[in-house]
């Protein structure tokens, strides 16, 4: 190799002066000094505390599901919206923790990309360098793979632990100690799905019979107590989107037909809040307005709810995407505003600052930013969310 490189150098060092001869004279130009040489190698870092305008957008990447990504986006920047990307391989899930300064991805790999030995892993990434800090291997090849739902991978115990949903289709939950980098327990969850952190240390799940199942965990991660609350979910007539809007430990769900139902997960047992209410109807629909998209409900710091609505609501329209965002006040149980979007959208989120912005991931992959208070369109971030932006996370 050495001799080759030197040979090339010799071979052409003569020629290089010929190259130089082509150069234009510089005496005539207004810039006396040439642009400075730039240092090599140079790699960007992110700020220790991300600005309030920064979000994470999950690109499901349908054309290569095994190569999904999470895009880190500054929603305030039109010219540099993409700040970096983190791997999210094969129906992955993602968690971001400002306090841990970590991004976690639960992923699946094969030794030959599509075939061979399967390895499930929770990867831990530094939020400043976006470099891997470590991983926790999940044995048994049972990590649940679905089109990405946030409630399949959640924190509990003050973000010291993570919960991973398993599906083989046998359903269970793995409890991970993130600092010890190991699995500390596994809890069977027959007939129940999705994980809603509950109390100080525990979770709840909805079950196939319409009940809510809550589990409290001990210091060792094992189940201490569990409780079933019957008939909180009418799966046939008022099925709820699995992804709620979180206000502290209160989760606001919306049904396929637009009914808002709150749940309190602050105690050891999840409880339905009294006073479910409907978003109501409006003109311009055929046949009717219903929530539509993948991440259809979100909230701002003040607690106002935002719901992505489709004017073509009917059985089966719940993932079709929406063209308006309806704003509701859970206190007064009334709709307070309608925001018209520029195009069909699949996911919405809100920045957490005092003057929140509504972030809209469109079906065509474009990311739009609206003023949440007025609904006014502020800026487009182009395809910053990648090919298939389906989830917006505001850390």
């Amino acid at each position: 190799m050495k001799s080759f490189a030197l040979a090339l150098a010799l071979l052409t060092s003569g020629a290089s002066f010929v190259g130089a001869a082509f150069a234009a004279p510089t005496a005539t130009v207004p810039f006396p000094k040439a642009l400075a040489e730039e240092p090599i190698p140079m790699v960007e870092k992110l700020p220790a505390q991300w600005p309030a305008s920064w979000i994470l957008v999950h690109d499901f990447h349908f054309n290569s599901i095994l190569d999904g990504r999470v895009m880190i986006i500054d929603t305030a920047s039109v010219d540099r919206p993409v700040r970096g990307m983190v791997r999210a391989a094969q129906f992955a899930n993602m968690l971001a923790s400002s306090s841990r300064r970590e991004i976690l991805t639960s992923e699946t790999f094969y030794s030959r990309l599509t075939q061979g030995v399967r390895t499930d892993v929770v990867s831990i990434w530094d939020m400043v360098t976006l470099l891997p800090k470590g991983e926790i291997v999940l044995p048994g090849g049972k990590r649940q793979q679905s089109v990405t739902y946030p409630q399949l991978f959640q924190f509990t115990n003050g973000q010291k632990w993570a919960l991973v949903a398993n599906f083989t289709p046998a359903q269970s939950v793995s409890v991970l100690d993130l600092d010890a980098r190991k699995i500390i327990s596994e809890i069977d969850l027959p007939g129940c799905a999705q994980l809603y952190p509950t109390g100080v240390r525990g979770f709840s799940s909805f079950c196939a019979d319409g009940s809510l199942f809550s589990v409290a965990l001990g210091p060792d991660g094992k189940a201490v107590t569990s409780k079933v609350v019957e008939n909180v979910h009418d799966i046939d007539n008022q099925p709820m989107f699995g992804t709620p809007a979180w206000q502290g430990q209160t989760a606001w769900f919306v049904s396929y037909r637009g009914r808002i139902q709150g749940f309190d997960f602050s105690g050891e047992v999840g409880k339905a809040l009294p006073g479910a209410f409907d978003l109501g109807s409006a003109e311009g629909a055929a046949p009717e307005w219903r929530p539509g998209g993948w991440q259809v409900i979100a909230n701002d710091a003040a607690g106002k709810l935002y719901v992505l609505m489709s004017p073509n609501g009917r059985e089966g329209s719940h993932k079709d995407g929406g063209t308006e965002v309806w704003v509701a006040d859970p206190a007064s149980k009334t709709r307070t505003a309608r925001i018209a979007l520029r195009s069909v959208a699949l996911a919405i989120g809100l920045t957490k600052d005092a003057k929140p912005n509504l972030i809209v991931a469109r079906a065509d992959g474009e990311i739009d930013v609206h003023d949440a208070a007025t609904g006014a369109f502020l800026r487009s971030l182009g395809k910053a969310g990648g090919d298939n932006p389906i989830l917006i996370t505001v850390p």
């Binding site: 739902y149 289709p169 999705q194 799966i235």
Partner: protein, 182 residues
């Protein structure tokens, strides 16, 4: 009139081949509930809209059978009333077979779609084809009868490449496995 028992018994027999007892049982459970939870719905006309994908301008594929009408490369095709993914018809397979090089998942979820020609409600099994990366052709997403993940056998968001050697997803079929009633 096939009794439900007979029908599920036949299913079990057919699926048992090459699948573990465990996944067979799961699949059996899925099948019964799948058939149960679906009211029989007309194929929504609106299903042709972009929200479901459009088959990416693929040339039409006909069954050649007047009793099985429509374009099998289009998201509108009657059997696709609750499909989510790439149509195997566009990927080297067909509406009921997987492309070469893939493995068909033995466990899956089941929908009920109405055939506009004979007006019957057919039980459709959306078996995924696995072990090859995303086909990339004819992406569709229709959700008639789709329910939240709390009812796995009625939810098309799961990667149903389960019980296969690899969980890598390539495309989805829509196989007739019975008639909801006769």
């Amino acid at each position: 009139m096939i009794s439900l028992d007979k029908w599920t018994e036949r299913l079990t027999r057919r699926v048992a081949r090459g699948t573990s007892r465990r996944s067979t049982l799961a699949w059996l459970g899925a099948t019964i509930t799948g058939a149960a939870v679906f009211p029989v719905l007309p194929v929504a006309r609106a299903a042709s809209g972009s929200p479901h994908g459009g088959g990416g301008g693929h040339a039409p594929i006909s069954s050649g059978n007047p009793q099985d009408p429509g374009d099998q490369a289009s998201c509108d095709y009657w059997r696709y009333c609750a499909i989510d993914g790439f149509l195997c018809s566009c990927c080297g397979g067909s509406v009921s077979t997987c492309p070469p090089g893939t493995e068909m998942s033995p466990i899956t979820w089941v929908g009920t779609c109405t055939n506009p020609a004979d007006k019957r409600a057919y039980v459709i099994s959306y078996n995924d084809c696995c072990g090859v990366s995303s086909c990339g052709q004819c992406l569709c997403n229709r959700n008639e009868g789709d329910r939240p993940q709390v009812r796995p056998q009625s939810n098309n968001d799961y990667n149903w490449c389960l019980g296969t050697e690899s969980s890598i997803y390539n495309c989805s079929t829509a196989v007739i496995i019975g008639v909801a009633s006769e």
